[in-house]
Amino acid sequence: MTAQVPITAGIETGGGTWRFPATQPLRLDSGAKLAPLEIGYKTYGRLNAAKSNAVLVCHALTGDQHLASTHPVTGKPGWWDRFVGPGLVLDPERHFIICTNVIGGCMGSTGPASMDPATNAPYGLKFPVITIGDMVRAQAMLIEALGIDTLFAAIGGSMGGMQVLQWAADYPEKLFSAVVIAAAARHSAQNIAFHEVGRQAIMADPNWVGGAYLEAGVRPEKGLAVARMAAHITYLSEQALQRKFGRELQRDGLSWGFDADFQVESYLRHQGTSFVDRFDANSYLYITRALDYFDLGAKHGGVLAEAFVKARAVKFCVLSFSSDWLYPTPESRDIVRALNGAGCRASFAEIQTDKGHDAIFLDDPLLDQTLRGFLAAQATARGLA
């Protein structure tokens, strides 16, 4: 079911869409079942004979499986390609790197735009509400289907980091090491509030059509763009916005109207409009909901440490960014405190940067150095070096 596509530079890549038959449904936290299940994924490198070099990279809210290869819709480079390549932190010559599109997504995995076998029409709002736990369960199904017992590492930033935490809680025996970047163990009121603004913007767009816009042949582009604009502000720090744009104008003088006078307005509009080309509005609703429902300690009587007691053999690396106000450093410290409380060995570093949450995707030598050091040490411990 995989489609091997060799690319230049000798890196072996693979992936495609993995289809699980209706007899293998995905059991959801809500009690519902999702079948048939499809998972869009990409791989880089080759699984070694011992099957000990698999690295799962988990993407953030609007990311996808195109970790380090050209995006099929936008034509842009992969979202983390600065970390993936020969000699880089994730090296396809040493690691078998897997990235899956989360369920609920719109890049090949089953989501609200997929066909509902019951109606032969897109799911739309008939798609069941999903959780981070469901996303991880689907990933675990794929990992197993690929013949991998234990991941050398699971790595993710933002929502990807939450998936990594969920992996540690649900599948500790399948995890050797875990890297959690700029994440949180639960969504705060402020996190939920910002997501609610985005969802309301989408649902207020008449082209949303109660979620059935695909049948109606329209797209709620304006609503989705506004959702993206609001969210994008939370990805940047105040300093970064000020440094990038200040009060700079687009052209000489004010328009005395509501055009994009300021560069920051133009930038946000661009972020919004380019986003709608590659993302599905209902996917945005479902995935933000999954994030809002995320509270890893809740299942364990509110004691987060209890979620990690079976993960004592897993080596953790938790990283935060000093200027990230979406998932600020205290959130990461709470995770580390819980890991310590559970008796897990955890490393934690706060990376000094003024780039905000977006620093996950930007060039930061400290992040590079830290990840490299941690993974090299884990590779030695795993016998990969």
């Binding site: 080596k315 690396c317 955890a346 490393s347 150095q369 040490a377």
Partner: protein, 236 residues
Amino acid sequence: MSAIREDFAEILKLVRPNARVLDIGCGEGELLELLTREKGVDGQGLEISPEGVAACLARGLAVVQGDGDRDLDHFPTRAFDYAILSKTLQQMREPKHVLSELLRIADQAVVSVPNFGHWKVRWALLSRGRMPETGALPEPWWSTPNIHLCTLRDFTSLCDALELRIDGCAALADGKPARAIDPRQPIENWRAETALFLLSRKAEPQIAAAAPPPQNLFGEVELAGAEPPAKKGRKR
């Protein structure tokens, strides 16, 4: 192997193989790496500087970026066999709290402190009336990070107040081998430039009692006022 710092060499001697060790203020992880390599310890560091944390990570050590003054409460009770605090207690805002935290987190604490009762310190004050600048206390008063200096007598009386047992003590001096001492001997309060202590709680909790320290920890010195040595041969 290059020359090892005297205090590291002493700590290396007294830490049991495969012990769980928390190194507070672990810097770039030299000691943890040494303990991991030589004793196979399960180590965890706590370090405030980003450079130190990055260096530890690159060495493959588990390290948490944090402040010993604030972040010790992150660690659960009795999570470690040893908590090590090397030459930084006097820089803590609340040394008494930190000391009792060390022995909440770990069964034994390894703590080294510069001795403000050392004769050079006393002489500097007495003869020149100036704040001392010695090998163990190299910085002038206006830039020193040391805000809570103490003498050996001060330290041992704090241990008494916290009901801690001194399982061993050695005097350290630059370039000289460590010397086992009884820190309660008045002469040592003049002679020891820096002292390294091995501490434990006086009242041993019932569960999972720590193995007794080896008899000949810092040499054959009877510790005045110390508890009678624990029974030999009890091992984990």
